[in-house]
């Protein structure tokens, strides 16, 4: 039976005692003091009162955070079948190599001749990723998936700017099943978002697409397989429709784990693709990050006279190999590039992690990973056939790819037990819950992705638990409302958490409110 730790762990500010230290700062050398004399900071910029930080010993700090870690749950603890998150196992050999001091101690502005090994790794990774997605050039610069999306949509903007048509190219088309980051990234790149609906099979509704496409269309953002886990069957036709009006196709790589080794975005007609290293290529999610979101592009001509290609537009720096000097070098963004999206190269630790993963898997292993992910999903779907309380809304009878969405709508309609309740029931059994209430087009959605690294036994247990939850729900619909019971804490009051009178984003707010020094957030 699953039982998560329930330590009564205070908040750091409630711990410690005056005078304790957690870190010994070296003494200033006497000779240095003699030479320098006194350090004079102008009064108006000198810290006027010390920061209100607790005084803790190293022992207290360590135990505190170890206890907190025991009240957290990751892939290392058990299955995390969060849909669209591809929470696969994070290989430890990759962790060891990515945290090697020959990487962690390199300064980003260090002389290129002193980082040849790392640059070679990054150069190879650029090439391997380009081959995996069927594109011609990659940049490893973006720090996350959404960062890659922004980079990609900015490339679309630049493309139309360089072609002198940005004044009319104002819209990006996005299906209603898309991740929220797609419309948000488009808006950040200055585009208007046009949403199109999905058809019953879970595909983009081609008629709706045709109606939406016009001379204003700058591009289309698409996830394939989409968030329902379904392959977009009409992808070639979609590409044609968009290219006809000189729009570009952007591939959201969140679901690459569903087709790797079988199909490549580049071969499907996509012009730009981002890749989530922290999904498909096994670097860990870190409780929200860091990730890495490389983008790859086709060698599409932007301006034949000036010889500008799409690859000149991507952000950077990227790594190039100088044949003459036999050296790897950084190529900083040139005048046609969208520029930089963060200071320096990219998120190197997740990138090296991905490099090690690809190296260990090889093309055969990557393809096998996709097969496993797809078999796991469809095996699960089979186990869920005819289980009372659940339903499939889109693409009935179709095989899924790496993930699936089932709906708890029948259960919700009949006995009032919601997707959220189901999620909490899964937590109680020691499974991380699915992504819930997403995609938005599926009511009471449970979005489930086992990935390639989950065992058959766990998939069976998970399905059995879903069935058990349904049985309990129909017998005693009040019980699920009391879940979870086996986690570190019971059902959380999220409404109060965001209420202007109660919202407490920091201990400082807690303290000031208690002292009556601040009022409601307004």
């Amino acid at each position: 039976m699953f039982r998560q730790a329930r330590w009564d762990e205070p908040i750091l500010f409630e711990l410690g005692a005056p005078g304790r230290i957690g870190f010994l700062v070296p003494e200033v050398e006497e000779e240095i003091k003699r030479v320098v004399g006194e350090i004079k900071i102008p009064e108006k910029i000198k810290r006027s009162s010390p920061p209100n930080l607790p005084d803790l010993s190293e022992v207290e700090v360590l135990r505190h955070f170890v206890n907190l870690s025991q009240m957290s749950y990751g892939v290392d603890n058990g299955p995390v079948p969060l849909g669209s998150c591809t929470m696969k196992y994070n290989p430890k050999i990759a962790m060891e190599l990515a945290f090697d001091p020959r990487i962690t101690m390199l300064h980003p502005l260090q002389d290129e001749r002193t980082v040849q090994g790392l640059l070679e790794i990054m150069y190879l990774l650029q090439k391997w990723l380009a081959n995996i997605v069927g594109m011609d050039a990659c940049t490893l610069h973006p720090a996350a998936g959404a960062h890659g999306e922004l980079a990609g949509v900015l490339v679309i903007r630049k493309y139309h700017e360089l072609k002198g048509q940005i004044d009319k190219k104002k819209e990006i088309i996005i299906p209603d099943s898309a991740h929220g980051t797609n419309p948000a990234s488009s808006a950040m790149a200055g585009f208007k978002v046009v949403t199109i609906k999905s058809d019953e099979r879970g595909n983009v509704d081609i008629d709706a697409l045709k109606a939406a496409v016009s001379e204003s269309t700058a591009g289309l953002m698409l996830t394939n397989p989409n968030t329902l886990g379904l392959f977009e069957e009409n992808i070639l036709e979609i590409a044609e429709i968009i290219h006809e009006v000189d729009g570009l196709l952007y591939y959201d790589g969140a679901n690459l784990n569903g087709i790797m080794g079988y199909a490549r975005p580049g071969d499907m007609g996509f012009d730009i693709a981002h890749i989530n290293i922290h999904k498909t290529f096994s670097s860990p999610h870190g409780g929200g990050g860091p990730g890495a979101g490389p983008i790859c592009v086709k060698d599409r001509i932007v301006d034949p006279e000036k010889g500008i290609k799409l690859s000149d537009l991507i952000p950077g720096p990227i790594v190039v190999y100088d044949e003459k000097e036999k050296k790897y070098k950084l190529k900083w963004p040139g005048k046609y590039s969208v520029g930089m999206l963060k200071a320096f190269f990219g998120n190197v630790i997740p990138l090296v992690w991905g490099f090690v993963y690809i190296l260990a898997m090889g093309p055969q292993g990557l393809k096998e990973a996709t097969e496993q992910a797809v078999i796991n999903t469809n095996y699960f779907m089979k186990l869920m056939e005819n289980v009372k309380g659940y339903d499939v809304i889109y693409g009935k009878g179709r095989f899924r790819k790496h993930e699936t969405v089932i709906s708890a709508k029948p259960m919700h309609d009949e006995v009032g037990v919601s997707a959220e309740d189901v999620a909490k029931g899964l937590l109680d059994a020691g499974f991380y819950a699915p992504t819930i209430y997403f995609p938005l087009i599926v009511p009471e959605a449970l979005m489930i992705e086992f990935t390639d690294t989950e065992t058959k036994e766990n998939i069976e247990k998970y399905a059995a638990r879903l069935k058990e939850i349904s049985e309990i729900a129909y017998k005693n619909p009040e019980e699920p409302k009391t879940w979870p019971r086996n986690t570190s804490v019971g059902r959380v009051d999220a409404v109060k958490a965001s209420h202007p009178r109660h919202v407490t984003p920091t201990w400082r707010v807690y303290r000031l409110r208690k002292e009556g020094r601040i009022t409601a957030l307004k």
Binding site: P26, I39, P101, V115, A146, A184, D267, N347
Partner: protein, 468 residues
């Protein structure tokens, strides 16, 4: 057919059983909806890895040999800053960061099973809030540069009719480049304010002049500045900005905040910064940690980007609990009307920085700040004694970085850098391409990692190079 330790269902017998249950004769059937034209050809012949799966033993050897081609500047550490700086990573920080329960978990969508992670992130926000003396801190952005860029975008959402931000002409050129990228699609402009050539400080008259058209949504300063000096007029700059109804945004290096005034006390409306010094390591540019904070005012908080953890209770009110708060700002709910597209952030780095701040405490930050300043001032003083060398170029007090000018040595910095490298020393960043008016100038960085011995070695080696 590949059997692999990371693929538990890859053995043929298991696979077969699963396919049978699904009701297909082979795995191909599951992919039959992919049109032929979109199928990849000769996948196994593509250059991906070495063309076959490798064992852990082979992988280690392969990567190890590549890593051997890197040169780590350990003792002395590189005298390089410019937005990332060599600082010590305490063992406890790295140890906690490596805990699988933190490292391998997802964004805490399920609060009840992620209690520990959420408390750790809440504590990061809380410790940072005290360091900055600002009330609301988010759970991280990508880095300082992107945090500054998002702060600028936020200022335009608050000051809707305005179309430019004012930044110091000494602004970190990498940060500026990133901000340009973020602002370009919206037609917003970045305008630079002159600096006083003697002190490096922002020219307040020029600032007022550029504010007078009332088009600036915000005034931004960095403290310490890219060129190392301390912007001692920060409070005045903030007041001037407010006179013209512009926001005041400060970019800070958190490790300086034991000795330098907190942005909250200097009147900042938004504070951003780089968390890299707080125990994250250099990592060749990332992952780092973008700090983002604002004050207790709904007008600001509602426009803030990024995730925020909040303290609450369980539904029965009996237990302390945490939840992600004010999510209606975010992309998964607001979509194209969200305050930012950010989803994955740098949460694990925030946890690590939280551990770092907890270890240092108020005393640690002060002592560390003082140690750094003593060491950097010692280095500048010693370098300045070398014939023809001027360090620093500006009169103002500096923190850990300072300009070193070689104009009167008769040697170009490129040559000096080359010679230092030959002696196993990595010198400062050559900044001529960003600040041509400063001549043969490099930006040197000295932190708690550079001992007197390291600094003396640099000075002695430079002396020899210059005497040649």
């Amino acid at each position: 057919m590949v059997r692999h330790p990371w693929l538990p269902n890859s053995p043929e017998n298991i696979k077969k059983e699963m396919l049978q249950k699904i009701g297909v004769k082979d795995v191909e059937e599951l992919f039959k909806d992919i049109p032929k034209e979109a199928r990849v050809k000769d996948w196994e012949k593509l250059e991906i890895g070495v063309g076959r799966p490798l064992s852990e033993i082979e992988v280690r050897r392969y990567v190890d040999r590549l890593l051997d081609k890197n040169k780590v500047f350990k003792y002395p550490p590189p005298f390089l800053g410019g937005g990332a700086w060599p600082h010590y990573v305490p063992s406890v920080v790295r140890y906690i960061m490596m805990r699988g329960e933190f490292m391998t978990t997802y964004t805490p969508y399920q609060a009840e099973i992620a209690y520990g992670l959420m408390q750790a992130l809440f504590e990061y926000q809380s410790l940072m809030a005290e360091l900055l003396e600002m009330e609301v801190v988010n759970a991280s952005m990508y880095d300082w540069a992107s945090a500054a860029a998002e702060a600028f975008l936020m200022s335009f959402r608050i000051n809707k009719e305005r179309n430019k931000v004012l930044v110091p002409s000494t602004m970190n050129p990498f940060h500026k480049k990133v901000a340009e990228t973020y602002l370009w699609p919206h037609g917003y402009k970045i305008e630079t304010v002159k600096y006083d050539p003697e002190t490096g400080l922002m020219d307040l008259e020029d600032l007022k002049k550029k504010l007078s058209d009332r088009k600036a949504s915000a005034v931004y300063v960095e403290n310490p500045s890219f060129l190392g000096f301390i912007e001692e007029n920060a409070r005045d700059i903030g007041e001037i900005a407010h006179d013209y109804k512009a926001l005041f945004i400060m970019g800070v290096d958190p490790i300086s905040l034991g000795v330098l005034e907190a942005p909250g006390r200097l009147g900042a409306d938004i504070a951003v910064g780089e968390g890299q010094p707080l125990g994250l390591g250099l990592n060749y540019g990332g992952p780092y940690l973008g700090i983002f904070a604002t004050k207790w005012n709904m007008k600001f908080v509602r426009q803030m980007p990024g995730r925020i953890m909040g303290l609450t209770t369980t539904k029965d009110g009996k237990q302390r609990a945490f939840a992600m708060v004010l999510q209606t700002r975010e992309q998964h709910i607001r979509r194209e009307r969200a305050t930012s597209n950010i989803c994955t952030n740098e949460a694990l780095c925030a946890v690590a920085a939280g551990v770092y701040m907890a270890l240092l405490g108020k005393e640690g930050f002060k002592k560390l700040g003082e140690l750094i300043m003593y060491r950097s001032h010692y280095a500048a003083k010693k370098l300045n004694e070398l014939p023809g060398v001027k360090a620093p170029l500006f009169k103002s007090t500096f923190f850990k970085e300072f300009t070193v000018n070689f104009d009167n040595t008769g040697k170009q910095y490129n040559y000096i850098h080359e010679k230092l490298l030959e002696n196993g020393i990595h010198g400062g960043l050559y900044i001529k391409q960003y600040f041509p008016e400063l001549g043969e100038t490099a930006l040197f960085c000295v932190t708690e990692l550079h001992t007197k011995e390291d600094i003396d070695l640099l000075v002695d080696t430079l002396k020899e190079i210059l005497e040649e």
